[in-house]
């Protein structure tokens, strides 16, 4: 177990900077998720921590010890690869013992640790199978087991669930959460999926184009995104963004508007923070274009029809609303905006204090 410290970490490949001065402290036992779109540098950053990529600037410290010049096996980390990277010509047991054998540990100790990891991960019945005889979820568990036996100070996960199907992904997510609670180890987890980040992380690091956009707990990111990128990236349904006129959003009722200050150029509101309302009281009017039924709720994709919103001759303005009761397609409905959940953005995309 150890804490992890990144200080001004940089990486460039032949003149192109892919990691751009990252500072981050990860506490002992914390579960931190790096999330961002593909190409944001999250995997590169993880590989730099693992020692698989060269660091061209800054410092990485694990447990207070600067590891820049240490090779991967000297850093006390274990890594779970996206492809699982199981050795296909070795049985599950051999896969899990390989690292300990290389350290020339006594046979009895190896057997005990492998058995222990197999118990935690319910891999007992599969120890003598070859990896190709396992399902995707079982391979995933073997890859985790191989990390556990080495008792590393830091676990690194590189998109470990992206090769599993939706149902299995949900299950395995839960297992990883339980594993973290059980081992109490420091874990760094990379994913492009905001759901995994939200449900697993103690703290989320949102990366974009080699920079940290925001660091915070899942609820902080959901409730108080610092900019439009994070606001659009985090959340089950994508946030609606409405452009403002002179810092205000004109409403459907004659003369009424939501004032957000002179600097504000865009208003953000999540689909779950809009409510259906009778038309006379409505803030916005929209014609239902597509309805997506989820059973428990529906998503309405509306075209705004309030005179002041329908773009003049340009593309129709679309907005998404989450509702409990279905509405007929083509119908025009009124919406109210929950004032508590409005996000205001300035021209550079930064959030303005409410």
């Amino acid at each position: 177990m150890a804490d992890l410290e990144l200080r001004g970490v940089e990486k460039s490949f032949g003149g192109m900077t892919v990691i751009n001065g990252v500072d981050l402290s990860v506490g002992d036992g914390e579960f931190v998720v790096f999330v961002g779109p593909s190409g944001c540098g999250k995997s590169t950053l993880l590989r730099m921590i693992a020692g698989l990529e060269h660091i061209t600037g800054g410092e990485i410290a694990i447990g207070g010890r600067v590891v820049n010049r240490l090779s991967a096996p000297e850093r006390g980390i274990a890594m779970v690869f996206q492809s699982y990277a199981l050795y296909p010509h070795m049985s599950v047991r051999q896969n899990m013992s390989f690292g300990l054998e290389l350290q020339r540990r006594p046979k009895a100790e190896i057997a005990r640790k492998v058995q222990n990891a197999a118990d935690i991960l319910q891999l007992g019945p599969y120890l003598d199978r070859m990896p190709k005889a396992l399902s995707g979820g079982q391979r995933q568990r073997v890859a985790i087991g191989r990390a556990i036996v080495r008792e590393p100070e830091v676990f690194l996960f590189d998109e470990p669930l992206s090769n599993l199907d939706a149902a299995l992904r949900g299950q395995t997510r839960l297992e990883i959460a339980r594993l973290h609670a059980r081992l109490g180890a420091t874990m760094i987890y990379v994913t492009h999926d905001q759901t995994e980040a939200m449900t697993l992380a103690d703290r989320i690091v949102v990366l974009n184009a080699g920079r940290i956009e925001q660091v915070g707990t899942p609820l902080e990111l959901y409730r108080k995104p610092v900019n439009a990128f994070v606001a659009g990236f985090i959340g089950g349904q994508t946030m609606n963004f409405l452009p403002l006129t002179d810092g205000a959003l004109p409403l459907a009722r004659e003369g009424a508007s939501v004032e957000l200050g002179a600097q504000a150029v865009m208003l953000g509101i999540r689909p779950e923070h809009l409510r259906l309302a009778p038309q006379p009281e409505a803030d916005l009017l929209g014609r239902v274009d597509v309805i997506e039924e989820f059973g428990e709720f529906s998503l309405l994709h509306l075209e705004l029809v309030s005179a002041s919103h329908a773009g003049a001759g340009s593309q129709p303005r679309l907005i998404t609303v989450k509702v409990e009761r279905p509405v007929a397609a083509g119908e025009t409905v009124g919406l109210t905006i929950e004032r508590d959940h409005i996000h205001a953005f300035d021209a550079s995309g930064r959030v303005l204090a409410a």
Binding site: L52, A72, P73, F81, S83, A85, Y87, P88, L102
Partner: protein
Amino acid sequence: MSDNPDHPSRAMAIALAFLAVIWVSPFAWLVSNAVDPLAGGQLRLPAAIGPDNFIRAMSGSAAEQFRNSLFIAAGTATLTLIVASGAAYALSRLRVPGRNAFLWSLVLLRMLPPTGILVPIYFAAQRAGILNNTGVIVALTVLNLPFAMLLLKNFFDTVPIELEEAAHVEGASLLTILRRIVLPMSRAGLAVVWFFSFTGAWNEFMFPLLFSRTTSAFPMSIGLYSAFGRQGAIDYGYLAAFSIIYAAPAIAVYFMLRRNMNTGFAGVGVKG
């Protein structure tokens, strides 16, 4: 693309069967003539059955030729495998500048008819004083290298770099990674290269003919030709028996390596 892909067309099946018969008949001829001491060169059931032809084809100079062939073939295959696997791993893993140009120029050179470069190779071997079966091994190895390297590089490429990274993170040295991960996973490719080098060298005719100027150093490929070209009546039974003995080691090696090679052929594209 057919409504009913479960039923192959009858015409196709007949055409394939016909091909197979054409293919099998020479082998039937060989066997029927080899076991028949009175063989006359017809494709027919043997008139008599006896080991006479085989005994003649395994004694005297024929036995010597067999040993020479084995030396050349096994030597070439082993030398090719060692040199090619080292170079192929380097080519697969290192980003040497101009690596692709290098590889492709080797392939291009290999496209040249080997007989086209026979002349300079002959004189090079003469200078080096290896105008004998060792020289044949060296020459054939040099000729084998480009394709062997390409094939093995391809096999090494299929070992995901993540496996080597995983082993590295677990503390394995480069040598350990090679020994425990890369080579075991490329066994099929190694077997294919060894087998093709072996049969190629076994069948080679030109190089031994030019390099090994004494009759006692000739391999079986030359022996077969001279048996064939003998004065007087053609000795069909002897020829057939000699051909079968000549073919035997390649078949034996094939069966020895077969389990490894099935996946090896899959690697070069044959799904079987």
